[in-house]
């Protein structure tokens, strides 16, 4: 079986982004970019499935500008077999991403697609569910445990009150939550080896997918800033303030 793992190039989680003064977006000039943290866990999950012998090939795909090759190389260094870059300089909305991934699952005869549950830039949490819908496949979202067997996958999902376990027949889509695994680091020999692994480049047009946008961003603004309050000297003063000043206890 072949696994497709989707990875997104996003601003590094430790960068505090600033909104541009003209309200057109956030300023990412010279910002450090990285693989979306949830996608890293997804890559690790796919590689472990391959190491366990349940999967023959792991393909890493990213959609975006040429620079995404950097994140695909990282995935290859971690153990993915080959990469696909769907090259575009446009902002691609989740529905269009799902359509592109659907086209790739058909082309590559994929049995399982692994995605992060959300990206830390647009915070949408949509693509995996949309892809599953378009393929009419089952979905295991927010997975903290995933056990693959011959023709099914059992997924334990993070839900608001605890956990839920579902059994999905393959092919299926799973989206990854934080606790699924701890991603490894790429070793230097593997980084060198990854340079020789193939990355194909395709376009949405070649895949016959319309990536036209449905949403228009009218403005991007900075949220109201919360101003720092006061430092109290003791627990007694704190309790007193909460009772008499803030009146919340």
């Amino acid at each position: 079986m072949k696994v497709l793992v989707a990875i997104k190039r996003v601003v590094d989680a430790n960068v505090k982004v600033r909104v541009k003064s003209d309200g057109t977006g956030v300023d990412l000039t010279n910002a450090k970019m990285a693989m979306n943290p949830f996608c890293e866990i997804g890559v690790e999950a796919a590689i472990r499935m391959k190491e366990a012998g349940a999967v023959e090939e792991v393909i890493a795909v990213s959609i975006g500008p040429k620079a995404c090759q950097e994140q695909i190389r990282t995935a290859l260094a971690l153990g993915c077999d080959r990469g696909i870059l769907v090259a575009t300089d446009e902002q691609v909305e989740p529905l269009a991403v799902a359509k592109i991934l659907k086209a790739l699952t058909e082309k590559e005869d994929i049995g399982l697609v692994i995605l992060g549950k959300q990206s830390i830039d647009t915070d949408n949490n949509q693509v995996g569910q949309m892809l599953a819908a378009l393929c009419n496949w089952p979905q295991g979202t927010f997975a903290c445990k995933a056990e693959l067997s011959e023709d099914q996958i059992e997924v334990t999902r993070e839900i608001d009150g605890g956990e839920q376990t579902v059994r999905l027949s393959l092919p299926a889509v799973i989206t990854i939550d934080l606790r699924l695994n701890e991603p490894r680091y790429a070793s230097l020999p593997n980084i060198m080896k990854a340079k020789k692994k193939p990355i194909d480049t395709v376009t949405a047009v070649e895949l016959e997918v319309d990536i036209g946008s449905r949403l228009k961003t009218l403005s991007v603004d900075a949220p109201a800033q919360r101003s720092a309050g006061i430092i109290v000297e003791s627990v007694a003063e704190l309790v007193n303030k909460l009772k008499t000043e803030a009146k919340v206890i």
């Binding site: 601003v11 989680a13 505090k16 982004v17 600033r18 909104v19 956030v26 949830f38 909305e93 989740p94 529905l95 799902a98 830390i120 915070d123 949490n125 949509q126 995996g128 569910q129 949309m130 892809l131 599953a132 819908a133 089952p138 979905q139 903290c144 059992e154 999902r157 993070e158 839900i159 605890g162 956990e163 839920q164 376990t165 579902v166 059994r167 999905l168 027949s169 939550d177 934080l178 606790r179 449905r214 949403l215 228009k216 403005s219 603004d221 900075a222 949220p223 919360r226 720092a228 309050g229 006061i230 430092i231 109290v232 003791s234 627990v235 007694a236 704190l238 909460l242 803030a246 206890i249």
Partner: protein, 308 residues
């Protein structure tokens, strides 16, 4: 305009987040119908009918919908939802699981976690962990939306909507429910608690959360945690407050041993009053706290418990 709100429930009671979603629907304007899809969920339908602003409650009561599997409920929502201009659900794990599946089947975009309604087609939603607010306009015929509960005050009681049944049954065999492990707690639920006390990496281990529990008992508070505390294995993930955990906005939020990474602030910075207890006076959490106490939490928490 007509709006279909997907009720969130456990087949017994309507979850509070649904009231915030109905409030968002009211802000959009138009007739509001509520879909209660579940099994043995008539009580939920009755509760939904009493919410102010609801015109009609549609109940789809069938075993196929018992566990809220998106594979079954999404096609139901699509079937019913074609008649509406908007489909709304709460941005909870249930809503987030279901709604994008609905949007894709309708071939429309989804607008995630709105916090404000500007117009019937224009909404505000946080991006980059709440460090920016995007105002987006949808060109789709049906707007599929998830609503961040903290952005809207709960709809009030006082409605008397008609209750109708839907006999559409969709059951797919590709996804099967196996089991659920729900945390049992006497404490209020995180997302609806008026006071929350949260612990971070500074708690050092899971046992030390007992110190928070004792204070929480005095305050009737819910207990939360930062991602650092969850990652370190101190507590379970359903306690996580932050960008990728729960978004909360209680009257009082007490952050203990939490440094205040942007991902955590994203989940709690709309709280009315924020208290930070941390021994590191440089911790970023103090920049958003109304009251900061620079102290060793192992001394401060027992003192706090005694003082309450």
């Amino acid at each position: 305009m007509s709006i279909l709100v997907i009720a969130e429930h456990n087949n017994e009671s309507l979850k509070p987040a649904s009231l915030n979603v109905i409030a968002a629907a009211t802000a959009i304007g138009g007739d509001i119908d509520v879909l209660v899809a579940g099994c043995g969920c008539q009580q939920v339908a009755a509760a939904a009918a009493q919410v102010a602003g609801v015109a009609r409650v549609i109940v789809a009561d069938n075993g196929a919908y018992e566990h809220q599997l998106a594979e079954n409920i999404a096609p139901l929502v699509v079937e019913l939802g074609k008649a509406y201009s908007h489909i709304l659900a709460a941005a909870t794990t249930t809503g987030k699981n279901l709604t994008p599946r609905v949007a894709a089947l309708l071939d429309v975009a989804q607008i995630s976690e709105i916090v404000e309604v500007k117009a019937a087609d224009t909404f505000v939603r946080p991006i980059y962990a709440g460090n920016a607010l995007a105002t987006v306009q949808s060109a789709d015929a049906i707007k599929v939306i998830t609503v961040r509960a903290t952005g809207f005050d709960a709809a009030e009681q006082g409605g008397s909507a008609a209750i109708e049944s839907s006999d559409i049954v969709i059951e797919q065999s590709c996804a099967r429910y196996v089991s659920e492990q729900l945390s049992v707690s006497e404490r209020p639920e995180l997302t609806s608690a008026s006071i929350i006390i949260s612990g971070g990496r500074g708690m050092q281990n899971g046992e030390n959360f007992l110190l928070l529990e004792k204070v929480a008992d005095k305050l009737g508070a819910a207990i939360g945690a930062s991602r650092a505390a969850v990652d370190a294995g101190f507590v379970s993930n359903d306690m996580q407050v932050g960008q990728t955990g729960k978004i909360v906005a209680p009257d009082l939020y007490i952050a203990v041993g939490i440094s205040g990474a942007i991902q955590h602030l994203a989940g709690m910075k709309d709280s009315k009053v924020i208290v930070a207890i941390n021994k590191d006076e440089e911790a970023p959490i103090f920049q958003v706290a109304d009251y900061g106490l620079v102290a060793d939490l192992f001394k401060a928490l027992p003192e706090l418990e005694a003082a309450l």
